[in-house]
Amino acid sequence: MDSVPIDQMNDADLMLRVRGHDDEAAFGLLVSRHQKPLLNFFARSGVQYDSEDLVQQTFLRLYRYRQRYVATAKFTTFLFLLARQVWIDELRRRQRRERLAESLAAEPHEEFAAPADPSAGAQGDLDLARALAALPEGLRQVVELAVYQDLPYAEVAGILGIPVGTVKSRMFNALAKLRALLEPEATAAAPHQGPAKGDRP
């Protein structure tokens, strides 16, 4: 492993150096590679101004829990698992939207969806950010991890603690809802698809 220059090592090898040797340079590289995806993960979660603090908390937690990392786990799975925990803790800490925090650990419920602007929806001019914000939290996190972070469904399932089949159904529902918000005319003309397998009523 040491024959590879450190800046060319993969994330798992860097994390093993952090775990085994408390290697500052390896940790710095992990920060450099993953700060932006994490920042956008929190920003798209609806954190407007504290997302950089949450990124810092996630890396601090990564350092504290470094001994829990095992080589068989993909690094991004480990990192986003921690990020999700930071996000849940932040919601609880602020004591804001407590029900939303609960929904992160449960199946999606429609009542947790942020209300979309009905006039904007009728005019079909919702932008992407607003459409994402209008998704229930459980659906939005699947989009975040599978679309923006490009993680395989098995990893998404591992991070969210749900079966792969549920990841599929949430993804289908999320894309259908986004399409309905962003392209209302197209979806109005399309035949009703019916609920995907595993959907909640």
Binding site: R19, G20, H21, D22, D23, E24, A25, F27, G28, V31, S32, Q35, K36, L39, N40, A43, Q48, Y49, D50, S51, E52, D53, V55, Q56, Q57, F59, L60, Y63, R64, Y65, R66, Q67, R68, E90, R93, L128, A129, L132, V143, A146, V147, Y148, D150, L151, P152, Y153, A154, V164, K168, M171, F172, L175, L178, R179, L182, E183, A186, Q193
Partner: protein, 381 residues
């Protein structure tokens, strides 16, 4: 299975529509991390490293030795490497310091690197050209701090270059976060260094007007519009406004008071400051910067210097990882509080890390200009 495979299972028309939607989502612009974010994270981890053991450590039974053993070995190896480096330095030392060696004399290196127009070009020295105004400002501030006053002409040329960079709205260049970073530091340098005269006065008026327009209702500034502020940008803006007010720019007084009030509200009872008010994290760099700002820019306001001294008392003088920005802020805070011993301890740590070849986390973006400027700014006067 991944998203692509999932979409392939759907009917062709639906899959095509979803693929278009996914492409649209992925093409949406992303936020860029603040320039100091990586250094803040590494500083927080360095602080963690010295303060607490690993949580939830589990025994490692495979090829890895116990952490404590490896850690001791690592420290021993680092000490050995530092010793070897010191020995090599002694035996292979040139007869006289190289005037353009950034490690030997960062201020002289900065002076030698100044461009004909008075500015500095980050791209020539491993930095991002978008930060030319801020890096020019930092370099100029570093030259102005030279105890022998060797670079007076360079400072004058740099101040003129900053005035030339300024746009009609008072900003110094860049977009978004880059613009906010450039504005705060360039405005401070201009207010501190520029010679008196009508051109400087007009530039300062414009810079202060731009700062006023960007101040939040709560009194702070941030990289993004709509935020109540963050400590890093607010501290630099407050320093700029205080310097402008001292030069007679009347419109600086109200935003200065509001900015100081914001900083006062950022300080916590236990003696720390976070990046954002009310957030959980504590930043050693920003605690030092806020402390220094309260003691200097807030020195005419009741209670603020004492608050700055309290924040300074909670700072540590010993840090593990390289971070010129943090070290500069600490030196300034300790000196302002009259704690010259701890200021010197920070300088010693900087010197040792530099000799050991430690890289500043922000150097990949700021380049040598950045590290040299903060190193020179932290030097003893």
């Amino acid at each position: 299975m991944n998203l692509n495979a999932h979409l392939s299972e759907l009917p062709a028309a639906e899959a095509a529509a979803f693929r278009t939607l996914v492409a649209r989502l992925q093409a949406a612009p992303q936020r860029e991390p603040a320039p100091q974010l990586a250094s803040r994270i590494l500083a927080a981890v360095a602080s963690e490293r010295t303060q607490r053991p690993t949580l939830n450590a589990q025994p490692i039974t495979t090829n890895h030795k116990p952490v404590t053993s490896n850690y001791r070995l690592w420290r021993w190896a680092a000490a050995l490497a530092a010793g070897l480096l010191a020995a090599l330095t002694l035996f292979d030392r040139p007869a006289a310091p190289q005037p353009a060696d950034p490690a030997a004399d960062p201020a002289a290196w900065l002076a030698a690197s100044q461009e004909a127009d008075g500015a500095w070009q980050p791209a020539r020295h491993g930095g991002d050209p978008a930060y030319r105004p801020a890096l020019t400002a930092l370099a100029a501030l570093a030259l102005a701090r030279d105890p022998a006053d060797r670079f007076r002409e360079g400072v004058r040329r740099a101040a003129a270059a900053l005035v030339a960079m300024q746009a009609a709205d008072g900003a110094f260049g860049g977009e978004g976060r880059v613009r906010a970073y450039n504005q705060a530091i360039a405005a401070y340098a201009l207010a501190t260094l520029a010679p008196h005269g009508p051109a400087t006065a007009a530039a300062l008026e414009r810079a202060v007007a731009f700062s006023r327009a960007g101040q939040s209702a709560e009194g702070g500034w941030d990289y993004e519009a709509g935020s109540e502020g963050n400590t890093a940008v607010t501290a630099w803006q407050v320093r700029a406004l205080a310097a402008a007010a001292e030069r007679g720019v009347g419109q600086a007084n109200i935003p200065l008071r509001k900015g100081l009030r914001w900083l006062r509200g950022a300080a916590r009872s236990e003696g720390g400051v976070a990046y954002h008010r009310g957030s959980a994290g504590r930043s050693e760099s920003l605690s030092a910067l806020a402390a220094y700002t309260l003691m200097t820019s807030g020195r005419s306001f009741e209670g603020l210097p004492a608050l700055g001294r309290n924040l300074t008392a909670a700072l540590s003088a010993a840090d593990g990882a390289a971070d010129c920005y943090r070290d500069y802020a600490k030196v300034m805070a300790f000196e302002s509080a009259g704690d010259t011993a701890r200021a010197e301890a920070v300088r010693t740590g900087m010197r040792h890390r530099r000799q050991a070849g430690a890289q500043d986390p922000w150097e990949p973006i700021g380049g040598t200009l950045y590290t040299c400027a903060f190193t020179a700014l932290a030097a003893r006067q």
